[in-house]
Structure formats: structure tokens, C-alpha cells
């Protein structure tokens, strides 16, 4: 059944800049509460979400039409490529493997990083600067995190572009071809 339009009990008066919007059942006064700065999810949020989805899909489809996913020779346990590399997101770990006993770079370091990440919000509890990009009140936290980022990304870049046969350092433009 259709919902009938409720007759307007409080008709809008065009001469007033305020009006009675609705009656609410609440236990407190709603006056002098200040603007709540919200918008309805429909349409403000949902249209943005829809557009973002279309953007993501179009971008991914474009990339997929332009570039093919790599597929090398069939797996061959007796033919070891030199160097053999892990996927890029693990290359930072692989890079650290070459420094000391693999346990330190490959297991110990990532475990420590995960534990520190998990515990951070339990130690860094001040509400100063929440909701603001690079808040000046959070200089130290932001600096520490930036160092972590530079290290993590830097190691990946070294592993991906600067390591050649026998895990030796090469310039990317001098990189000997593998095998």
C-alpha cells in the first residue's frame, strides 16, 4: 500500500529563515546544540562511492587492456633463475635476508614491525591533531612513521631494481638479464 503524504501540520513560511522541521521524542532539549554538520548518506555519500567504484573499475580495466600479466616458462625445479626474486611486497624482506642470518631479516624484523604497529595506538593516545593530515602536534609520530615508510619502500626498491645475479648490486640500466 502507498504511504499517504502526511498533511503539512507546520506549513513552511517563506518569510522566515527558520522553521519547525520535525517533532522528536528525545529526553533532552535540542536547542542551542549547534549545527551537527552532517549530510544524508543518500545522495551525498552514495554517489561519491558509486563514482569512485566506476573510477576504480575503469582504471583497472584500462591497465588490463594495455598490459598483460607476466607468464614465464613452465616451473622447472632444475633450472634456478639467478637471481630468484620474491614478489615485490616481500622484496624488502628478501633484501634483509642477504645481510645476516635470514631469521633476523625474514622473521624477526617483520614480527617486530607488526607488534609495534599493533601497539602504537595503545601508547600514542593523545587526541591532539586527530582528523588533520600531518598535524603539527604529531611531529614526532609522523616523523617516526615516515622513517619506517622510507625504509620499507627503499628496501623494496633496492631489491626490485638494484639486485642482479648472485644478489649483487647493479645499476638498473646495467642489469644483466637473468638466467
Amino acid at each position: 500500500m502507498d504511504k499517504k503524504e502526511e498533511p503539512a501540520i507546520f506549513p513552511k513560511n517563506p518569510n522566515k529563515t527558520y522553521g519547525l522541521m520535525e517533532l522528536t521524542k528525545t529526553k533532552s532539549f535540542q536547542i542551542e546544540k549547534g549545527p551537527d554538520n552532517t549530510v544524508t548518506s543518500w545522495p551525498h555519500l552514495f554517489f561519491r562511492e558509486l563514482i569512485l567504484f566506476m573510477g576504480v573499475f575503469i582504471a583497472l580495466m584500462t591497465i588490463s587492456l594495455l598490459f598483460n600479466a607476466p607468464l614465464e616458462q613452465e616451473a622447472n625445479p632444475s633450472n634456478t633463475p639467478n637471481p630468484a626474486k620474491a614478489p615485490w611486497y616481500f622484496l624488502g624482506l628478501q633484501e634483509m635476508l642477504s645481510w645476516a642470518h635470514p631469521f633476523w631479516g625474514g622473521i624477526f624484523a617483520p614480527t617486530v614491525v607488526v607488534i609495534i604497529l599493533m601497539l602504537t595506538p595503545y601508547f600514542d593516545r593523545s587526541q591532539k591533531g586527530v582528523g588533520v593530515w600531518f598535524a603539527p602536534e604529531r611531529k614526532i609520530a609522523n616523523l617516526l612513521f615516515t622513517i619506517f615508510l622510507v625504509l620499507a619502500v627503499g628496501l623494496i626498491v633496492v631489491g626490485e631494481f638494484f639486485r642482479g645475479p648472485n644478489w649483487q648490486i647493479f645499476w638498473p640500466w646495467n642489469m644483466p638479464s637473468p638466467h
Partner: protein, 246 residues
């Protein structure tokens, strides 16, 4: 508000209303019914703070990660129709996707690039949350869920990496397996962990089926469940973080 005749024709009829249970959302009550009356949308609030929809705040990074997860699920299911996790067939199935299956190569490309993208965007999303202080109380726990989601995303990507059964796949997983083998004490912990992951001592059929099952069943289910908790916690924590109001 002036009624739009065309909109009215589509939305003000029994059929439309039997599905959406409200007419075109032109007042706040109906706008709220869009959310509360819809299974997919009702995980979201009826109203959001203006800061939440500010593109420059979240940069949409978490949502992009989520969308990629959805696209990966859809393309992954389609790929399962063509891929058989056997060391005799897997590589040929990849070749068939490239040369025999209509649009097979595009399907594979979407899945492969989408996966790389998801790792990247989950990471970028974490950076956004950190640099805006979005992990501070009361959002500590959701940050922790996020860290677990990052790890699961990495494992999803890694387990998928073996499936094409080419040289890239085989040797990348061999490296990771050897790495797992170094967990101390090596002779007990490391060796056994490696055995558990590979189902043997080398990367072979047992490893392939283990990685496959993790990749198509276990990890996606865990990821989906945790994403559910992640989103639910965003609401319980009072929505996306925002600057204190004067």
C-alpha cells in the same frame, strides 16, 4: 520540489515500491529508508559528517582497497572455471586463458593487476590513517584489525602467486618457503613449519593444492569476515575520525 515526471513514472509504481519499499527519495524520511531498507546499504549510517565525504581526507583509499577486493572476488570466481590446481595442468590452463578462452587474458590481467593494486592501496590506506591520527582511541582496536587485514592481503597475494606454476611462481615460493624454514630452532620449528606450508619438502603438487585452497577458500573468507568487523567498528567508533569541533 517540482516532481520529475520521468522519475515519477519509474519510481512511483507498485513494482518499484515492492522492491525498494519507498518512492524516489525526495525527503529525509525516504532518504533514510534508502539506507535502512537496503541490505547492502544499511551497514552505513543514514547521515554522515561532512568531513567523512571530503575527498581530501580519506582519499577514498580504504574504499578503493575494498572495491579491489570485490573485483578480485568476481574475477577470481570466473578464473576458477578455467583453472585446475594440478602441476600437470595449471600452466597449460594459464596458456589457454591467454590464447583459447574468449577474453581470458583480460580476466587474468584484471585479477593480477587488481591484486597488486590491493596490496598497494591497503598500504596507502594505512599511511592515510596514520598521518591523520585515525588510529587514536577509540579506534585502537580497528587499527589492529587493519594490521591483520594487511597481513591477510599479503598472504592472499602470495598464495595466488604460485598458482600459474611458471618459473616466477615456483622460485618466488621456494624463496619464501626457505625463509619460513629459518624460524628458530630451525631443526624443530623451521623444518616443521616449512613441511606444514608445502605439504612436503619441495614446492610440488601438495604445495600447489595447499596454496590453492588457502587462496580460494580460507583467506578470502577470513578477509571478508574481518572487513565486515572493520566496517562495523568504524560505525561503533563514531564514524570516520575528524577534527575536534570548536
Amino acid at each position: 520540489m517540482k516532481k520529475n515526471r520521468l522519475l515519477d513514472l519509474f519510481t512511483n509504481n507498485r513494482f518499484y515500491k515492492s522492491i525498494f519499499r519507498h518512492g524516489y527519495p525526495d525527503d529525509d524520511i525516504k532518504r533514510s529508508e534508502v539506507v535502512t531498507g537496503n541490505l547492502l546499504l544499511h551497514i552505513q549510517p543514514v547521515k554522515v559528517h561532512k568531513n567523512t565525504i571530503r575527498a581530501g581526507y580519506t582519499l577514498g583509499l580504504g574504499l578503493i582497497a575494498f572495491y579491489l577486493f570485490i573485483i578480485l572476488t568476481a574475477t577470481g570466481i570466473l578464473l576458477m572455471f578455467y583453472y585446475i590446481p594440478s602441476i600437470e595442468r595449471a600452466y597449460n590452463d594459464m596458456k589457454d586463458l591467454e590464447f583459447a578462452v574468449s577474453f581470458g587474458i583480460i580476466l587474468r590481467n584484471l585479477h593480477r593487476w587488481g591484486a597488486h593494486g590491493m596490496v598497494a592501496f591497503v598500504f596507502l590506506h594505512m599511511c592515510r590513517v596514520f598521518f591523520t591520527g585515525g588510529y587514536k582511541p577509540p579506534r585502537e582496536f580497528n587499527w589492529g584489525i587493519g594490521v591483520v587485514l594487511l597481513i591477510i592481503t599479503l598472504f592472499l597475494s602470495l598464495t595466488g602467486y604460485l598458482l600459474p606454476w611458471d618459473q616466477l611462481a615456483f622460485w618466488a615460493i621456494t624463496i619464501v618457503a626457505n625463509l619460513i624454514g629459518t624460524s628458530p630452532p630451525e631443526s624443530i620449528m623451521g623444518a616443521n613449519l616449512r613441511q606444514l606450508v608445502l605439504g612436503g619438502t619441495i614446492v610440488g603438487q601438495n604445495a600447489l593444492i595447499r596454496f590453492y585452497v588457502m587462496h580460494v577458500v580460507v583467506l578470502p573468507l577470513v578477509a571478508a569476515a574481518l572487513i565486515g568487523v572493520h566496517f562495523w567498528r568504524i560505525r561503533k567508533d563514531g564514524g570516520i575520525s575528524r577534527p575536534a569541533e570548536e
